[in-house]
Point group: D2
């Protein structure tokens, strides 16, 4: 597919050239039509490019300002700039040939004078998207509302001490869900970046959790009412920007959803960098989500294990992702979810092509990981030893214990005659096995 | 109260001398009969001395062996040594004049040739305890079973891949609960030190969580059957000894207990050092436990914020504890719980009196924190500003939102006309207030 | 001293009222004329208010924008705004009655069209400062140049791969030192916020360290040439904004200064929050600086032990500071250094008076810590036990070992006949002692 | 080479079978005679098996006891057991066909009644080693003394407050160096596991650093006197077992060695797990060591990025090691150093063959990394872009700056006319390049 030379200065999309290629603007592993575990690779990985890091972030950090100097950020009519930004965004979607994109309301259109004005601006850009999507193949993986950047949300949105802020947030989220529905988005995401606290000295945690439960319940009711089919996804993160966020990790959200009776309608959007900030491996979060029937979608990036904040780097770590994809393939792969690039180029990567190269390289690393996962699964490389390890529980008596058919006294009595001998956990053997595949 | 000069070389118990005292073997703040928030100080703080750190740990660490050279650890008949250890333990209880103690089965008696033999040994020491408790004032705050030190538990107890280990653990826990019941223990504690994993490569997390749920359900059934009145307490800890433990933190256990329908019978035993290893303040864990009706008891110690493992140091940090006690007093103080010294003297503190000094100094720090908490609560120093901050939610319309009487569309419509202005969070002001009291 | 009601809406400066005061705009401990360890309290603590956090930071964070809405940040003529900002700054200096302030060049004046223009703007505001300082009592503790916020410095200043950036930085630092000299600043500070790397893949660390050594050598030569009497201070920080900064901590800077022969002229400006990000206590950094004759000045703030980034909170932790001040008093207190409030109010503390309250409360916490330190030192509460612990080294034979007068064989031979017995480290006893004083 | 079936139950050594092999007891990449960057692979990697983790550690951790149940640890005559252990050790060396091994004095022989007795025991096992080494190909990479496990060292060895402990340590280290020299060890290592502190309250850091400096100076003098050719290697570690260790990291040791004039004779033994505990990447530590001419040898293992203690896992992470080996090959590879497996099988890996599999798998991962590093270097994949990035410094004028031939004023004047434009750091491009090779 040819494309006009635009912002990125490229004549043609990134395409598959095979493992031997040395072109940073070609794929070495991502061969979208290749069959992997029963689907086309594209349909397994379901990549999405995100709007915020790629088109809205200017390259600033807490100690420095803009570095990217994107033309659409240099002043001028905000709506015209929003349209220019959309043109570049769709240019990148084409260059990468990704099937999906994602956005926050605030990424795509400027604030208006009040909420109504903001929603109007937003809907005008949604019109632009709708039009572009008629001729382009890219679809919407999910939409979301930014309830954390503006100062009105500095003390939270749903969990704000001020009910007017709660109402404002409800207004914003309704518009974002409506737009997501209109654009046939496959999911709707909630990231509670300010739903938490800076200090417990001024925080009534119980009350705020109740507020958050109510907010989500209203959203779930509305989703059903308007017939939005996709799940609501919560994106756990333990901290940053706040000292502590209520959606800390998978396990925390699981407790919350049960308490407010939301487990059927709300699933999770998990991220590697958020996982490690919470003290977990990405693999752990994904496995726990599946164990509790909460798996929804993935934000794909990586953090820096030596830093205590969200670096949102492009995922280049095929070994780590292979284990995540292995779990996913075990469960049949994504349903409505996908791999959303919640990843940002480094602040010093100021050439437009850095953005293309970063996405392409990470797509390749994911593809390589997927193929490795497929092979491990096909060979039962990990599943075989796992089944063997727990085989003792397959006996009728032991099944009866787990089925609740034995009392403590009964099992205790049996325990008195046993002298169980430990068996090797074989960790190094299993690590060596994984190294065979990636 | 006079006492015979024994292992600790002291003629008389530690007693209250007032703030001006310079004697490290006297209390400056802990005045047990002083009324605090409607109860005697002793009845508010409910101190317990633990058996494991104080009498069973020899002073080793991962890079070095025994330093304490306690006489009862230097070989000889194990049962005689267990009795000698009990004598010293009760000597310390008397010297500190604490109302409670705590133990694991394995702390107090040696293993036998098999589980039956171990239980026999254990019960013989329980007899010793029962006898001593007839003449001493010390009572049992809680008992527990050590399901983590022996190699049979290296891959978990309830979550072991081998059902025989599960059964063995059930046998052990039954005996420990029976003993706790017999000694009129006020709670029974479960710390799942090996209920977790070293690597996900060999772990079926979903299956193991089901096993753990079953184990606890059997224990709860048994507790009811035998008429044990106290709660079962789970002690959350995120990691160490394993890479990841299932009872990670309060929020995680809340999700687990709901899933396995255990919220009524199981509460939490929280610890500062475990809180910070999980990325939370102690205050956070306590508040979240109260918010979800899971508060049970406290292990009192402190960790080192710069180290990544459990240091279990004696709590000397009155400011931090004052906030925890403030929350506790708000809820009426302990019910069955207490402050258990899950704290160990440093490995270099090899003089017997170091153990007395450490407990006495930490009891004093707790007493000081309790008095500060009482004053803050009486003055509404924190509660006043808190109520004011959320006052907007007291209106009828806003109560209706939280009561589920408003739809998303209704609230969103109202949001369109609002322009909420943020108000100061006043964190530094509140921190200055706390500094007035501690 | 009365003052006109200005931006902060206060009629009179914060003044000492004694420990019983409940006014958040009064001092409870900071009694500037009180004698402490031989000097006025003001002369011991030497407080400075910093320009950047208090007057230049708008309240943003990586996930949200401005919250403070300061009038001097709302557009308009940049130089007029810079003057308005200076007026408010000096109003705060008066209200707090602090003896010092500090600034970066970029805090006080806007960038010009090129470096010459920027320096001109800067010097015009320096004129304003010079004029104000004639009638006010506030003095300059130190000045510095911001070599990290502008995109030209995104890959470092002195350590930039581009020598033109190096030269630009030299131009900026010369102007900042000149201004500091003119305003009789007592020190000049270098914080190398971008002197480090994001990835080693594009970094020649050895070369960059040589560049940094050269840069500092040139600065030291220049300082001597123009007769600037104060020391150059390096402010260590391990990371943030970069992944890794060359001035990681005290120990690292010590190695660097020795290599480039700078130990005589360059000292350290230490900060609690930077210490803990590097894995050290504040106390450790201060003691190590004194041990290597590198102590210069302190940035006073505190970090959040549970967060992995620089929170720069106002220091309210008297216990921790008491140990730092104890060490300082042991060495006679500050020479040219002082306590610079490199501390920012929380993003939600949007009331102007929050800024006053935060400084006042932290000044009070410092004053309390200072008094405790003085008492501990007077009582030899810590120094006494310390001297006793090392007393064995006072013998002639052992002094000879340390003096280099014994060979390995000689000492080894002596060792063969010894059976040294360990003595208690008494940590809990010493912690209890500290609790008596704070 | 055939071998008798012994403790590990294997008929033949692990041998190279090529990448397609599925045998966990075969090498897929480690082909010892293959030429890599001008040397045989074996001579580049110089693998050593360590005694402590593999033969002396019983599988305990802070919460549990022995799991391995090695026959030579089950009581009996200590010297006979030490000989049995040596037999198994040499069996493993043969099975892995490694060129080197390493040990502490305390690993190989039991303590005697006093230091003389301990040295006698030690020397008798050294005789055993000498004899075995006559017929086996394995050599000694380095020896060391254990100055941290016994309670006499609980407060340090060289830095102990008690000079008798210092003298005892000197006696022990002399014997260990003598033995290393006799066995033709290529280096001598010092790991200061207790040279640090638990609390600064009882520590005179300046004095202790002086003691440590003296200790090392004496050792260096002795080494020269007896003609030991290899370097003394310090192994940095920031903490654990102590709260803080003086040999924190490469940068800290560099400052220390300069202060005590030891840079010529003392180099570094670096370890990945110690690097990350100090907040650095392994790559960083290695590059900094080379930059300061301190590189000596490597302990090869990996830590767990989510845990705060030393896990010493077998290194399976080829990508990370490839960058380290790339730096090493740039400098011509090891001189006296090697890759010492300071790695332990997990506590649950209780089968003897787990020890073989773990070493073999990690050797393979290292071999793979080495080959990748060779290719990256040959292609100038990283070196090319690096040289280009700093090319601006090659001009005469810029070289003059770095050579110290320009003053601050001269460079500042030049800076006034510049408007340097940043260039992309290309991090993602470089990460993609690395992914091509590993």
């Amino acid at each position: 597919m040819a494309t006009e030379i635009g912002f990125f200065g490229l004549e043609k999309p990134v395409s598959f050239e095979g493992e031997g290629s040395r072109d940073p603007l070609a794929f070495r592993f991502y061969d979208k039509d290749r069959q992997v575990a029963g689907k086309r690779m594209e349909d397994q990985l379901r990549f999405a490019v995100c709007y915020w890091h790629s088109f809205t972030w200017p390259g600033g950090d807490p100690f420095g300002g803009e570095t990217f100097m994107r033309p659409w950020m240099q002043g001028g009519d905000p709506m015209a700039q929003a349209r220019a930004k959309a043109d570049v965004a769709f240019e990148l979607f084409r260059l990468l040939d990704v099937p999906f994109f994602t956005f926050h309301d605030a990424d795509v259109a400027p604030e208006g004078e009040n909420l109504s004005g903001s929603i109007d601006n937003f809907n005008r850009i949604v019109d632009v998207f709708a039009q572009k999507m008629e001729t382009e193949r890219v679809r919407l993986l999910w939409g979301t509302a930014n309830l954390f950047s503006h100062r009105r949300y500095m003390a939270g949105a749903a969990t704000n001490p001020d009910p007017d802020v709660f109402a404002y947030a409800v207004g914003q989220v309704k518009a974002a869900l409506d737009a997501t529905h209109r654009l046939k988005g496959e999911n709707y995401v909630c990231w509670g970046g300010r739903e938490g606290y800076e200090t417990l000295l001024n925080t009534d945690m119980k009350r705020e959790l109740d507020q958050l439960g109510r907010f989500l319940s209203m959203l779930v009711d509305y989703k059903h009412k308007v017939g939005f089919q996709g799940p609501i996804l919560i994106e756990p993160k333990p901290k940053e920007p706040t000292k502590h966020q209520y959606d800390f990790d998978t396990a925390t959200v699981f407790g919350f959803l049960q308490k407010y009776d939301l487990v059927r309608d709300v699933k999770l959007n998990l991220e590697q960098n958020h996982a490690i900030l919470a003290g977990h491996s990405f693999d752990h979060e994904v496995k726990l989500a599946y164990a509790n029937d909460l798996f929804g979608s993935l934000d794909i990036n990586r953090g820096d294990d030596l830093l205590g904040w969200d670096t949102d780097q492009f995922a280049m770590n095929a070994s780590e992702m292979a284990l995540v994809f292995h779990e996913m393939l075990k469960h049949g792969g994504f349903s409505t979810g996908g791999l959303n690039f919640d990843a940002k180029i480094r602040r010093q990567s100021i050439d437009p092509q850095d953005l293309v190269i970063a996405h392409a390289a990470s797509m390749d690393a994911c593809a390589r990981a997927l193929v490795a996962a497929e092979a491990m699964l096909a060979d039962k490389a990990l599943e075989g030893p796992l089944a063997e390890r727990y085989a003792g529980w397959d006996s009728a008596e032991n099944k009866a214990i787990l089925a609740g058919e034995r009392s403590l006294e009964q099992v205790a009595e049996r325990g008195r005659t046993l002298n169980p001998q430990p068996r090797s956990g074989r960790q190094e053997y299993l690590e060596a096995i994984v190294n065979r595949y990636v």
